[in-house]
């Protein structure tokens, strides 16, 4: 998103000399917590959390680092879930190939949607992606292989590489954790590559990037496809975790949810979408059994985020005096 909301000229705070070490320690603690978590918490909940965290991080790749707000990311998440579920259940593919097919399918959908949507910018881009993803929703509603309202149910998890039985919750958890880590590493690498730098340049000043000779449209399309593929990775894994793929995953509500996760956690930070999705998934879990419609809370949180803390939780912390003293900085 453009710099409209960017921080007012903050007083210079020099990062503590040991800030780098501290970040490394924090990262190790987080890794240890993720490895230990399934022995204390319900594994399905944790896996759901990791899937959505990866989904939100993939979405943030586009919003945070390229400045494009997609309102259609459910297409890639849910579409991939359908492809994976179909390949594994109907064709009997092993899980790793099923997920790869989901990723490839999501990337192909991303290419199609991207080619049309990047012709406009800003709010038009948001509206076009929303409309195209609604089109995909209607396609899924009517296509035979998605089984309409029923969805694809009781998808077998199968054996990873033919050896590891994923029906075992602990095995499945570590498979999801591994995929999540790989996805996050890919995003980190992508953001810090020359390609990622050019994306940031486009976000900051598109006419200037054009005048410098970059074919902006191709870079945007590249980022869009990359983001779609990673969202597809999250969707494919989610289909195996829950063993079904339904219309919920391709609906516009899902696109809205991933925006909320990213916005709440912090646009343009690597950790923000993870924190945001953890909060949203936890909230949904608490409210799942009550009669109270979760959309009221979701909507209010949306409004509060936009009005009060546009940097998101992690972004606000990074921008605070303590955050900057600890050497954190947000990318947007």
């Amino acid at each position: 998103m453009a710099r409209g909301s960017a921080s007012p000229a903050a007083p210079a705070v020099v990062a503590h000399p040991r800030a780098g070490t501290l970040k490394l320690v924090l990262l190790l603690i987080a890794a240890a917590a993720l490895v230990a978590a399934p022995f204390f918490l319900y594994p399905i909940f944790l896996m759901k959390l990791l899937c959505f965290a990866l989904f939100a991080a993939a979405f943030n790749l586009l919003l945070g680092y390229t400045g494009l707000l997609s309102f259609g990311h459910a297409t890639f998440f849910g579409g991939s879930a359908y492809f994976t579920a179909h390949a594994v259940k109907v064709w009997g593919w092993p899980p790793e190939f099923g997920i790869l097919l989901g990723v490839a399918g999501a990337a192909a959908l991303g290419l199609l949607m991207g080619v049309i949507a990047i012709r406009r910018q800003g709010i038009y881009f948001a509206m076009i992606t929303l409309a195209l993803s609604q089109m995909f929703f209607f396609f899924c509603l009517q296509a035979a292989f998605t089984h309409g309202e029923d969805g694809i149910q009781s998808v077998p998890r199968g054996h990873l590489f033919g050896v590891i039985d994923l029906a075992n919750a602990t095995n499945m958890y570590f498979f999801v954790l591994g995929t999540f880590t790989l996805g996050m590493l890919a995003i980190w690498r992508f953001v810090n590559s020359p390609f990622g730098m050019i994306l940031k340049a486009i976000r900051e000043n598109e006419p200037r990037a054009i005048s410098l000779g970059y074919s902006v449209a191709e870079y945007k399309l590249g980022a869009f496809v990359m983001s779609a593929a990673l969202a597809g990775l999250a969707g494919g894994v989610k289909a195996l975790v829950f063993q079904f793929a339904t219309l919920t995953d391709v609906g516009w509500q899902m696109s809205g949810e991933v925006i909320l996760m990213t916005l709440l956690g912090g646009i343009g930070t690597l950790v923000g979408p993870v924190v945001g999705s953890a909060l949203v998934v936890t909230l949904q879990n608490y409210l799942a059994t009550s009669q109270f419609p979760v959309t009221i809370i979701t909507g209010l949180v949306f409004m509060a985020c936009v009005l009060l803390f546009r940097r998101g939780i992690v972004g606000e912390f990074y921008a605070s005096r303590l955050g900057r003293r600890l050497g954190f900085r947000s990318e947007s």
């Binding site: 929303l130 609604q134 089109m135 509603l141 959309t295």
Partner: protein
């Protein structure tokens, strides 16, 4: 029985009428969106929710106070418009200096909150709203039967669209609005209260959505979810028409409604997505939209 292209004329005209009805709602809603966007640079995602709120206002006026259709046609848009103005004044107006995407996200949150609240109180099932006695029954046009209420929807929406267009193009208030769209700072320095103008505009847009909701209540059922799918189609209509022109929004609304109706006759499987397909084609051939000026 007469046929055209192998389709019975009665079915053809029937679907054309359905298309025209849908087009009436597309036109009214995209008009409201265009009016708001023109001045505020905000895409009002809550437009669908405000349409739903208009229908509920009419229903509640009837069930709680016994106020019938005709007064509700004025009162419900007024209620929705005032609610919109209040939200603009207290919250939305803080976002004008930011990237327009924040306005979209804020109104998206507003839409979710409104829908969730109505769902909490009224459940998800639709509730019927009877058309007024004067507009029941049907007339024989010779080639088809026209239900009177449906004819009324087309006439009323055309009249309101024309009225709003006249208000903006031909009155002094409209001149202020157009001037403030071009250069708000200059207009303010001439002594026009621009913030009040913005509040009025958002209220007007919301009231238009509310009016469409009352009009829709007897045609479709009144349900909390009636606006959420509609608004996405209306977004596609707006993209096809281009945001630049009020007249463009109206014309595109009717045209796409009719295109959707015709698709129902010739290839029903695609009727849900035809507007999105048209949008994609228009974007490839003419990215600024049919009536758009901005690139």
């Amino acid at each position: 029985m007469m046929t055209i292209f192998g389709i019975p004329t009665a079915a053809l005209f029937g679907q054309l009428l359905v298309g025209l009805i849908n087009g009436s709602f597309y036109a009214l809603l995209s008009l409201g969106l265009a009016v708001i966007f023109g001045l505020l640079r905000v895409i009002n995602f809550a437009h669908g929710a405000q349409y739903m709120a208009g229908a509920f206002a009419a229903l509640l006026l009837l069930t709680q106070t016994g106020i019938g259709y005709w007064p509700a046609l004025i009162l419900a848009p007024l209620i929705v418009g005032l609610g919109g103005a209040l939200i603009e004044r207290t919250m939305l107006s803080r976002l004008y200096k930011l990237d327009p995407l924040y306005g979209l996200l804020f109104t998206f949150g507003l839409a979710l909150t409104l829908e969730g609240t109505f769902r909490w109180f009224f459940g998800t099932s639709g509730q019927p709203y009877a058309p007024p006695a004067a507009l029941t029954g049907a007339v024989n046009l010779g080639f088809m039967f026209l239900p009177v209420y449906r004819g009324w929807v087309v006439v009323a929406s055309l009249a309101v669209c024309l009225g709003v267009w006249l208000l903006i193009e031909k009155t002094k208030l409209g001149a202020y609005l157009r001037a403030a769209t071009e250069n708000p700072v200059l207009v303010q320095s001439f002594g026009v209260n621009v913030p009040l103008l913005l509040t009025f505009t958002y209220g007007l847009g919301a009231a238009l959505a509310g009016f469409a909701g009352v009009l829709a209540a007897p045609v479709y059922q009144v349900s909390p979810l009636m606006g959420s799918n509609l608004i996405i189609v209306v977004f596609a209509v707006v993209v096809v028409g281009g945001m630049g022109s009020i007249l463009g929004a109206i014309v595109t609304g009717y045209l796409l409604g009719i295109a959707e109706g015709l698709t129902k006759v010739f290839y029903p499987e695609a009727s849900n997505i035809v507007i999105f397909v048209i949008m994609a084609i228009v974007l490839i051939l003419r990215p600024a939209g049919l009536f758009g000026k901005d690139a």
